[in-house]
Symmetry: C2
Subunit: 519 residues, 2 copies
């Protein structure tokens, strides 16, 4: 008779889950033991829970299917919450399996006891605790269905230890719930958008979610060609397809002033899988809403609606157009000083076709979109929820999801340190990830924001809280300490040589890319 | 006119807060700026929130006064939750300052928006959001009073960015709330315990919280001497005073079977600041309650009650006794193989007087209590809540709190990796912490638990989830990469030489102590 843990894993595998990013503890030991016979579920050990959740996010973004995490009670889930926040904002399908004390142990208030459901509720679209092993098969099927249902969400299943170790009885008849399908948008939504785009007034389509990929993106390009509307993309897309031969789409800038300039004069904004643009942060005396005055918003598709079908329908209504795709164009390999700008040129010059780019470069990433727009087709994954420490784990998950594609992680030095343990998992699993740490020895984004919010911190005490020198982090030593080969680049030529090497060699490689801070 | 952030910092300083463990973001920039003029509040930058919260825990345990953290919205608080869980279990006074979006920005659901209060509620005894800058002075005073009130708790103050940057008006008249005082126990509680201890039946006193320190501990020793009762200590005390000349107290074992053996035959258990003993985890077919059958429990003092006064009163009732303190005794310096046992002997042989020992050594720590019992007087801080990754941050906070005392962090390799970023803060602040990483290349505690819960994982797939080799972590490289000098020890002699060096030199030092796994 199978125990609960075996039924749980069987259910995960049966529902299509193929990777488990794990940081287990005692209450998960039966799950660990049951992994032995589940060859379809790849266990990936992570040394910190935030690596596991970020990796599951990366996996889900690249496959459209959920990976599961395996976490240890409330504190284990807590460690993974920041990257689950990012996954929630990315609408990534993801199943958390959180072990808990045996049910009869709960009332003893043992040291690890805490309110798991309260934590889970802050990031999950679906949360359940299983009370009987016989109910696990149904609960895990529902968890995967909930995670997979549009637009994708986090499902958290809390599994008490005794539910894992108890006999689960006869496996129930297989009646897995069907994942919900994306809803079709109304005819009014399509005709409303069509009227706006044909109004003759300045119009733009703001793409988000699935609309920056595949058929939706292609339809958006036809719409723009047919109407002259501009194609914009939300500031932090979960996964955008771009590069030579793909539609020209401009990501809305992070800085509100730049975003406002871009939107100025737009009279009609059609939302396709994106929400109306707002500032990332509030600033004194500024409105957080980025819409220009008098601009009308037309929601073509939102939330769980089928934005791909809606864009296809809208393109059909608007008639043929001849999109001009992004031209193939790469920057020349620069020489001399290594800066955020020359580093971006190196990346643009060398980015391989089919690359998965994970972007948590923050200030040092300013030139990346321009330098890579005409590179061979690639995917671009961004920091959807603003919770730092996403980049390295996301790369782990993307590499597990797409072993045949090169993964390039572009991360700020400050950002990398939140979840630097991800490098060890890259080494253990032999993942083909090339990591570039933009090493400017500061929280440069905060130096930028310090001025933007009107705070004055001229003195050393305050500035020191944003400064990462003294001591400088040695990323080569850190990477090698976790088994990842690494080298340091101080010039553009060195960076180019190292990036070529990292992209050519299988397995992980890290480049400490020493650049001056922009701020 | 001061702004909210200035008033907030003024209030913290006025209430006696002297250290701020910070990982700030944009919404905290005015707080950062205001630190410039607050020379009484030491800002300590941490590269991950779990370091900040663990450090604040260590600081609070050593001073009895709260440090504050500075965290960035919900995701920043989330990153700190695991160590806040440990701090909650330690009843450490601690004030979280969590920045949030400006109030008018909340409804825009910007990327970092999340349910901060839900997260805070899982660890905090007091949570408040300030809505007006003029209310900050009162709120911060209440936060510190709540944190300081017995037995000590986490207070979380959510401060929207606009509350920080707005004029706070005239500072209110200073009427800081008085922290609540510990309640006195009833006469019945004292006489009940006295009767039990004089019953002639086998009795033990289980000490916890403040009772393992200072006057309470001394009174407990007199009680034991007068009655023949055994002195036990909860398994994971927040801070226990021990060593030569101090009362002989035995910590209850982590493994339930060992704890049960220790308690077998006890007919009366007097609880002094401790809760009735329960197993850390549940195991199939075992009761989680560790009390022997027929044992009667007598609560002398619990929760917020004044356990020190209660023990003094009980000692008075029971009359004079002549405690036999722990004899001064150190193990001989061992030679040859470096194992958990010989490493413990080295530590016992060299532990300096007044040391603050932070213990997250898990399985490798098995011999530590015995080897150090007769060392010169020292404090011992343990993993109160079971959330891994406490050791290195706790050492940061203890060292900031007690710059004149040597701090010795004893951590497992697995445990150290959750919050390894703490080493950078040790280097930046020049903290006198000697870190020993017990490097057995495995989650050995889980290999132990795997058998204990009756899970069978003979195969490589399952075992690999508990194995930290392949690649092995190079802790010397990791430490040096964060600016901490480090060396590796492969023999008992090498370990002794390095420990002498680490304890003798000011500033941080790390020893990679390579030991075989016990399991």
């Amino acid at each position: 008779m199978p125990n609960g843990a075996q039924i749980l894993i069987e259910g995960l595998v049966g529902a299509g889950v193929r990777a488990c990013f794990a940081n287990p503890g005692t209450s998960e030991m039966h799950f660990v033991a049951a992994l032995e016979d589940a060859s379809a579920l790849r266990p990936v050990l992570c040394l910190f829970e935030g690596v596991a959740t970020g990796a599951a996010d990366g996996y889900g973004r690249m496959t459209g299917r959920p990976a599961c995490t395996l976490l240890h009670l409330g504190p284990g889930l807590a460690g993974g919450l920041a990257n689950l926040h990012n996954a929630r904002r990315a609408a990534t399908p993801l199943v958390n399996v959180v072990g808990d004390h045996a049910l009869r142990h709960k009332r003893l208030d043992a040291p690890l006891e805490s309110d798991i459901e309260a934590l889970a509720g802050t990031v999950s679209g679906w949360t359940r605790r299983t009370y009987h092993a016989a109910e696990l098969a149904g609960d895990v099927a529902e968890a995967v269905a909930a995670a997979t249902g549009p637009p994708g969400r986090i499902a958290t299943l809390v599994v008490p230890a005794d539910v894992s170790w108890s006999d689960a009885g006869d496996p129930p008849a297989a009646t897995p719930p069907r994942p919900a399908r994306r809803g079709l948008v109304s005819v009014d939504a399509v005709t409303g958008a069509a009227d706006a785009l044909r109004s003759g007034e300045s119009a733009a389509v703001l793409l988000g979610g699935e609309a920056v990929r595949g058929a939706g993106l292609a339809a958006a390009a036809r719409i723009a060609a047919a109407t002259g509307a501009e194609l914009l993309c939300e500031t932090f897309p979960a996964r955008a397809e771009r590069g030579a031969g793909r539609p020209v789409v401009e990501r809305l800038a992070y800085l509100p002033a730049a975003a406002r300039r871009r939107l100025a004069g737009v009279r009609h904004l059609v939302l396709a899988g994106a929400t109306s643009p707002v500032a990332f942060f509030a600033y004194p005396g500024q409105d957080g809403d980025l819409l220009p005055e008098g601009c009308r918003v037309h929601t073509l598709a939102a939330g769980a609606e089928d934005v791909t079908a809606a864009l296809a329908g809208l393109a059909e209504v608007l008639g043929p157009g001849s999109p001009v795709p992004e031209e193939a164009a790469r920057p020349a390999l620069p020489s001399g000083d290594l800066t955020a700008e020359t580093a971006a040129a190196v990346i643009g010059a060398l980015l391989p076709e089919g690359a998965v780019v994970v972007d948590e470069a923050n200030t040092s990433g300013l030139w990346l979109p321009g330098a890579t727009a005409g590179a061979p087709p690639h995917d671009w994954l961004t920091l959807t929820g603003g919770a730092m420490g996403q980049g390295l784990p996301l790369a782990v998950g993307a590499a597990v999801a797409c072993p045949e594609r090169p993964v390039l992680a572009l991360v700020g030095d400050g950002a990398s340190m939140y979840t630097v343990q991800a490098l060890w998992t890259q080494a253990r699993e032999g993942l083909d990830v090339t990591t570039v740490v933009f090493d400017n020895r500061s929280y440069a984004i905060l130096n930028l924001e310090l001025g933007a919010v009107g705070a004055v911190a001229e003195g050393a005490r305050a500035r020191r809280l944003l400064d990462l020198s003294g001591p400088s982090l040695d990323f080569v030593a850190l990477a090698r300490g976790m088994g990842v080969p690494a080298e340091r680049a101080d010039t553009a030529e060195e960076f180019a040589a190292l990036l070529k090497r990292g992209l050519a060699e299988p397995g992980p490689f890290l480049i400490d890319c020493v650049v001056p801070s922009l701020v």
